[in-house]
């Protein structure tokens, strides 16, 4: 079933602000899906509408074909892992996990086996009698996940699941979450502002900005072929240039005149007309630096520049290069540096080049 969770033209208005503005999305059963965006982009409001804490002003939400838009949270086949976990402080770990089953008045035996199975899944069996206050952050998070999953929800919502953890624990929990998702096979919806988290947790990501969805795609596609400058800059680093289309070639290639840089050949997803003003995007690591002019075959997009600044990161080095009015960010792995014998120093003249497939035409913000 490809449209298991359906968000159908959903809007939510707070005062004068359209927190969620006519959003439509579909999520497949068992998919790990992320809502990614900066704070205030509407992703949390959208999550709260799926959970039932907010009612959309217009639009519908369906789970497995059932319209749940008007249902209160307690009647939805959806459970949530809250950002601060919201564990009940007066109950033990065991009783926290049993809460949902008790609310649905399941038989005692089923509650016992369900809770024990969940404790095993999140590896907390030996902490069953402890209070939440006696647990570490990572353990609390696992209790919150177990407490939600024990109810066998059709969709599990996770609100910034890793935000409250320190860096090391976060990386560990990333893998843990992926493992749990693989084991239970439930549809997971993550809400996060952290692109790295979203990329490593999800099959697909919806990038949100100002209440709208800018692009829904797999992590690779979002990174390699962003549709908008917002997506390009929110996920990873990017160089942007503004230019005018000179000629439109076959298969989406466009030659663009960029003041001070010449006329690079780049790729466009959408239709482009000659003389249209365009915005180009090139990722820093797609730019190849050479001391000599690149050989003719690789020299389609080659420009001269001067190294202004550089920073060594171990696995790679970042360069800021000035070319006319432009400041271009380039990133190189040491071993790939052509010639290999020297690195460009501050003030050195270098050649930058990139393959036409690595330069993308992106839409400007607000044009969506």
């Amino acid at each position: 079933m490809d449209d298991f969770l359906v968000i159908d033209h959903v809007s939510k208005i707070f005062g004068a602000q359209r927190a969620v503005d006519d959003v439509s999305l579909t999520v497949a059963q068992g998919e790990a899906f992320s809502l990614l965006g900066p704070s205030g982009c509407g992703k949390t409001t959208l999550l709260r509408m799926i959970a039932g804490f907010e009612r959309p002003d217009s639009g519908r939400i369906l789970v497995g074909g059932q319209d749940i838009t008007a249902l209160p949270p307690e009647l939805r086949p959806v459970n949530t892992v809250f950002q601060n976990y919201a564990l009940f402080p007066h109950l033990s770990v065991w009783d926290n996990i049993a809460f949902g089953l008790r609310m649905s008045r399941r038989p005692r035996e089923e509650i016992r086996s369900g809770v024990d199975r969940m404790l095993e899944l999140v590896r907390l069996s030996e902490h069953a009698r402890k209070r939440p206050a006696q647990l570490s952050g990572g353990q609390r998070q696992r209790v919150a996940i177990a407490r939600a999953l024990v109810n066998r929800p059709q969709v599990l919502l996770l609100d910034e699941p890793l935000a409250a953890l320190d860096l090391k624990l976060r990386q560990h929990m990333l893998m843990e979450l992926n493992a749990i998702h693989e084991k239970v096979g439930t549809t997971f919806i993550y809400v996060t502002h952290d692109q790295g988290e979203a990329m490593s947790l999800s099959d697909r990501i919806a990038v949100m900005n100002a209440g709208k969805v800018e692009q829904v795609d797999s992590p690779e596609h979002l990174y390699e072929t962003p549709n908008t400058s917002f997506v390009a800059s929110f996920i990873g680093d990017a160089n942007f240039f503004t230019g005018v289309a000179l000629e439109v070639l076959h298969e989406g290639y466009v030659r663009v005149l960029v003041e001070g840089l010449g006329s690079p050949l780049v790729l466009s997803n959408g239709a482009v007309t000659v003389n249209e003003v365009l915005r180009l995007m090139v990722r820093p690591e797609k730019i190849i630096l050479t001391l000599a002019r690149p050989l003719s075959g690789e020299s389609v997009n080659a420009f001269r520049g001067v190294v202004e600044d550089m920073a060594y990161f171990g696995s790679h080095t970042r360069y800021r290069i000035r070319a006319g009015e432009h400041r271009i960010l380039a990133q190189m792995q040491r071993s790939r540096f052509s010639g290999g014998e020297i690195n460009p120093a501050r003030g050195a003249e270098v050649w930058m080049s990139f393959h036409p497939d690595e330069g993308r035409v992106v839409r400007l913000e607000g044009e969506v």
């Binding site: 039932g52 949270p73 959806v78 009940f88 007066h90 609310m103 649905s104 109810n151």
Partner: protein
Amino acid sequence: MSKESRTVGQWLLTFPSLAWLSLFFVIPALLVIITAFRPADLQGGVGPGWTLATLREVQDPVYLPILWRTLWLSGATTLVCLALALPVAFQMARVGQRMRQVLLLLIVIPFLSNFLIRIFAWKSLLHPEGPLTKLLIWLHLIPENAVLLNHVGTVLLVLVYTQLPFAILPLYAAAEKFDFGLLDAARDLGAGPWRAFSKVFVPGVRRGLISSSVMVFVCCLGQYVIPQMVGGTSDEMLGSKIAQRVFSDRNLPHASALAGGLMLAVLVPMLIVVLWQQFGRKESE
């Protein structure tokens, strides 16, 4: 810091409140108990020497129904106050800052007028010719000849009225610290609004409930003005008797013995509850 010096520090910190409690609570309470063992003199003071005669006097079975009435009226007042204060505290903690100030003010405003005047107001409201009685009769909620005053229910009503703010304020203080996100979590896990309230909010403000209960219950025990003014002759509380022994009979030892008995009747069950809780907690850990 060594364990010893930390203990010294703790003692220093505790000293002011401990001194306050000793000076104004423990010592007076002991004085009351000591007085119960002194003979009464004819001028309304205490005479020389010691006696157990007063203790024998207060074992008069006439006091038993009065003690019982005092305890159940105080208990019922506490329960009614908590039932009314819980939803109020819940709402107060949820509304905006401005509305909260207004509600707090409304709760405190009655204190600006004198306690006795407020009881008198109830007396005239509930008087057979009073506006409340007339209104209820006009609405056919009570029969024509109903008497609202001089009834044990009236005593309960006015006790609840006077004690309600003391139940609301500690509960509100606890509710203000309550994480209302927990109610979202409860709803998310399948609890309806009422069960989220009873299973998560009520345990969450447990401390507030305990302080409210103690506050209301203890204040009720000593009441004598309310039963005297709005209750009938058979609605006396132990406080009425103590007041009578002090002011009319001028028998301080007898009044002290009654007060000491009331103290025991309250402190012993409370002590048992506290010990039981301590013991129970240790066992579960």
